[in-house]
Symmetry: C2
Subunit: 114 residues, 2 copies
Amino acid sequence: MENFDPALDGAFHALADPTRRAVLRQLLAGPKPVKQLAEPFAMGLPAFLKHLRVLEETGLIATEKTGRIRTCRIEPERLLQAESWLAEQRAFWGAGADRLAAYVENHLAEEPNP
Amino acid sequence: MENFDPALDGAFHALADPTRRAVLRQLLAGPKPVKQLAEPFAMGLPAFLKHLRVLEETGLIATEKTGRIRTCRIEPERLLQAESWLAEQRAFWGAGADRLAAYVENHLAEEPNP
DNA sequence: AAATCAGTTCACCACTTGGCAAACCAAATC
DNA sequence: GATTTGGTTTGCCAAGTGGTGAACTGATTT
C-alpha cells in the first residue's frame, strides 16, 4: 500500500541510468575503489562521482574511505525492496481471472519479443 | 550483459515516479479510462497525460481510443524485464562466497558457519 | 443546435540531471 | 620536501522533468 515510498522513488531513479546499473554489476564481484570502478566509462571523475553519490544516497551502495582511496560495496536491501515491489505487482496481475484471460487473449496469439 | 539497454532505462525511469507506480497499481485490477485513472491524483489532466505518455512510450501500458474515451491497460512484458534484471543481479551477489559472507557479517546477527 | 464531457495541444515556468573544466586537498611515493 | 595519485569541490551549461493555465477538438447528451 506504500505508493508514496521515497525509497522506491530513489531506487528506481538510480537504476534508470545505464552507468549506475553497470556500477552495480561491477560491485557484484566484490568491493572496489572509485578509480577502478570509473575506468570503463568515458567520463570524468566528477561526473562519475555524482553517479556514485546518487547510488549512495539511495542506499544502493555504501562507501568507506581509508587513507586516500574510497572503497564502494553493494548494499542489497534497496535492490531487494525494488524487486519485491515488482514481484508484488506481478502477483497481482496474475490474480484477477478476467485480467489473466485478457492477457492471454491479447498476447498469446502473437510472438512476444524477448 | 546488456548494460546499455534503453528499454531498461525507460522502465526504471517510469517506475521512479509514485504517480506512475500508482497508475500501474490501478491498472492491475483491469483496464480503465483516463479520467477514472486520473481521479485520485491532485493534478490537472495535462500533467497526468504526460505521465500516461511516459508509461505508454516505455511500453508499460497500452492505450486504445474508442469514441471519446481512451482506455488504458497494463502491458506486463516490460515489468517482467525489469524484475528479471533485478533477479539476475540478486543471483549474482548470491554467487560470490566472500560477498555472501560480507553480507551476512554486516546484516545478520547470526553465525554463518558452513 | 447547444451544452457538456473526455481528451488534447500549446506556451510557459521552476527545478533537476548529466556532463564538463579547473582549481583544490590530502595521502603516498620518490 | 617535491611530485604524483586519488578524490573532492566549485562553477557552469544544455537538456530533460513535472507541473500550471488557457485554448481547442471531437464525441455525446439534452
